[in-house]
């Protein structure tokens, strides 16, 4: 029994009804309190999970945005670079012949032992340390030799000159300096030979190795030969092409069919059937669209494998139902009075829809589009089936060139055998993908608020 009931015996004795009401009231209040508590608890748990996810990804991935570079003086030693001068255009030479001569020359420049040049420049920094050519090669990223080559091709006058250059350190040096491998492990379980480890530590201490912002992550394509130089640009462009294809295909087709179905089509069994099927289509797992894409676009239409074109088409099919459903929902939300007013003033059905109804629904359609597109660029499964999980080192120039996509690149890096290096790098790629998603959602919000104000 309650305190109030006991403190006023007259009331409780006088009206048993009242105490019953009070008890029931208390029960209802308690039920509400409990419900609120459950609500707050679930929100807390949800936010906790999100925070946990984000903090682990950020914790793991953020360091990967910086990577060590070695500052050395590189001498373009004529004793090692033994090539003829770069061919120049003769008056009597055809452009094709010049091009061929240039290619031949470039091939010869490629054959130069650039590793030796890097080796010499590192040796010059630490003349007292005994090391093999292999030890030195472990320090600097494998593809830096092509950077030297490209510098030389660009500017053959460098021959015989010494220039200070910051060379990217290898992936294993990155792992060692960041402590992503247990530094106390015995030598036979380390990825770097002892001399290279010692040299890396020494250079890091005296500042010749510094952590620089990893711009290669944004300017390079994937790389196996030099994991330190693997970047996301190729995958980003692949995703961009697919996004454009989705916007160009799924949005107009989706919006047009939604308008027709909602505003013009007669309500009968056929349109009901279509509506049910569109809803079903939205629930079809994406992998099924991938299989469909492989069968139709690759095998029947002969689109190239691994091309963003095929990927974009598959993703368009996937996004289409989402766009249709969302557009129909926002059309349905427009009050009928608006249509009646327009029709009453003598506007035709088409005028009513396009001049009065549609502008009101822009924010809804826009949000649906951007969320659909964001969903599409995060999709991985269907892309695996059309060969986009491939190792591609060239930038796709057109949507018909081979390419990967951001989520597929994450999948590929997750599978790389150099776990110590690629785990942080994968997390960094996830951060990039999430940023793109968040940016898209932010655009959706900004555009929506702007349209709403106007409407």
């Amino acid at each position: 029994m309650s305190v109030s009931a006991m403190s006023s015996p007259a009331a409780s004795a006088g009206s048993p009804n009242r105490s019953r009401i009070q008890a029931s009231l208390r029960r209802r209040r308690n039920a509400e309190k409990r419900f609120r508590f459950y609500g707050i608890a679930s929100v807390t748990v949800a936010i906790g999970f999100v925070l946990f996810l984000f903090s682990t990804i950020l914790h793991e991935g953020l360091p990967a945005f910086w990577q060590p570079v070695v500052k050395v003086d590189v001498t373009f030693d004529p004793a090692i670079i033994k090539v003829d001068p770069k061919p120049v255009a003769d008056t009597d030479q055809s452009p094709a012949a010049l091009r061929r001569a240039n290619l031949d020359w470039q091939r010869k420049v490629t054959m130069v032992n650039w590793n030796r040049i890097i080796e010499n420049s590192i040796r010059a920094e630490a003349p007292d340390v005994e090391m093999s050519a292999r030890d030195v090669q472990f320090l600097v990223s494998q593809n830096e030799r092509y950077r030297l080559r490209d510098m030389f091709v660009e500017n053959p006058d460098l021959l015989g000159k010494t220039v200070p250059i910051e060379l990217l350190a290898s992936a294993n040096v990155d792992v060692w300096l960041k402590g992503d491998i247990d530094r106390s492990l015995a030598s036979d379980r380390q990825q770097l030979p002892e001399a290279a480890r010692m040299l890396a530590d020494r250079f890091y201490e005296d500042g010749r190795i510094r952590m620089a912002f990893s711009s290669v992550l944004f300017t390079n394509t994937d790389s196996r030969n030099a994991p330190a130089e693997a970047g996301l640009l190729g995958a980003f462009i692949g995703s961009l092409y697919m996004m454009i294809i989705v916007i160009v295909l799924a949005v107009p087709v989706g919006v047009a069919s939604a308008i027709y179905l909602e505003e013009f089509a007669p309500k009968n069994k056929l349109t009901d059937l279509i509506e049910v099927n569109i809803n079903n289509l939205a629930a079809v797992p994406s992998i099924v669209f991938g299989l469909l894409g492989a069968a139709v676009f690759i095998n029947y239409f002969h689109l190239p494998l691994s091309a963003p074109m095929a990927g974009g088409l598959v993703l368009s099919l996937m996004t289409l139902p989402t766009v249709i459903i969302a557009t129909r929902a926002s059309l349905r939300a427009v009050p009928p009075s608006l249509r009646q007013a327009a029709l009453g003033l003598g506007a035709s059905r088409t005028q009513t829809v396009f001049h009065h109804v549609l502008p009101v629904t822009y924010p809804g359609i826009l949000t649906a589009t951007i969320i659909g597109v964001a969903q599409a660029i995060g999709e991985t499964a269907p892309l695996l089936l059309i060969g986009m999980n491939a190792f591609v080192t060239t930038l796709p120039v057109t949507p018909l060139d081979q390419s990967t996509a951001l989520p597929v690149q994450i999948f590929l890096w997750e599978g790389n055998e150099n776990r110590n290096y690629f785990e942080p790098k994968t997390a960094a790629a996830i951060i990039v993908l999430l940023s793109v998603m968040l940016a898209l959602n932010a655009i959706a919000i900004v555009l929506r608020s702007r349209f709403e104000r106007r409407a």
Binding site: Q137, L185, N225, L249, V253, I298, N420
Partner: protein, 341 residues
Amino acid sequence: MTKLLLSTAVAAILLAGPASAQSRDTIQIAGSSTVLPFASIVAEEFGNAFPDFKAPVVGSGGSGGGLKQFCQGVGENTIDIANASRPIKAEEIETCQANGVAKIQEVRIGYDGIVFATSADKEDFALTPVMVYKAIAAEVPVDGKMVANPYKSWKDVDPSLPDQEINVAIPGSNHGTREVFQEKMIAPGCKEAGLPEMEKEAMTKACETFRQDVVVEISGDYTETLARLQANPSTVGVFGLSFYDQNRDTLKVATVEGVTPSLETVASGEYPVSRPLFFYVKGEHIGTIPGIKEYTEFFLSDGMTGSGGTLESAGLIPMPDEERAEVLKAFEDGKTLEAAK
């Protein structure tokens, strides 16, 4: 409305465009995940070394998956090269030929060891084929009769092994590694285990049926096997030597017949579980897709697959120079595989 029509028209043009697309100028490769890192490195170097060709595109999918794609037919939307960690099978050649792929050129690129590894903090394993067979077979011979596998711990299998629960992660049947594992480990182990007399077919079945409770088949890459090891530290995983080499800090390797796997012991043939790695070139595409010939020759060059070459530091065990020269000559002569092998 006009805007809508316009965009739909653009879409239609985009759709129709590919039908008249220009011929493909990038080599397309798929297949074995063991060969994938090597092929990717060569592809990248090829793109760097030959400014007039594009770097080939390398996909995975396992040896079986790659060869399946390879045998789909001839044409731009089929792959040009299939990587494989086992030789192509007779039935695969038949499928190929039925689909019009008649000129299959085999290129051997080197060798790879298959290793058994545990988490680094576990005890040492000294395995023999018969131990592995006994640990994972569904039925094992006890006193001359086949009984359901009674072993729970490795110690039950052989007293010399550590007392650790039996859990084994082996590659799925889409991987070439699986076949080599069965051929080089399970088959000799089964033979040695002394199975009672039985029909040949029943014998094969007894040798190749594994316990479902402790054996996990991994259809993905080795990283999936590694993740399995991290989730359940008592697991023994089957890896390629090159993968182990990159993850020596987290993995501990088991000896087989007393031999520790390494570049040297595999190259010398001392370590028993090794296999050659291949890729298969679609002869019909040479000349149509630019660069296939150059890519293959580049792959077989001294700087790549020779001893001390780029791929050796990535974990590939190089062939002796004479063998490499033979493979290159066979390729250049256009030697193709016959159906009846």
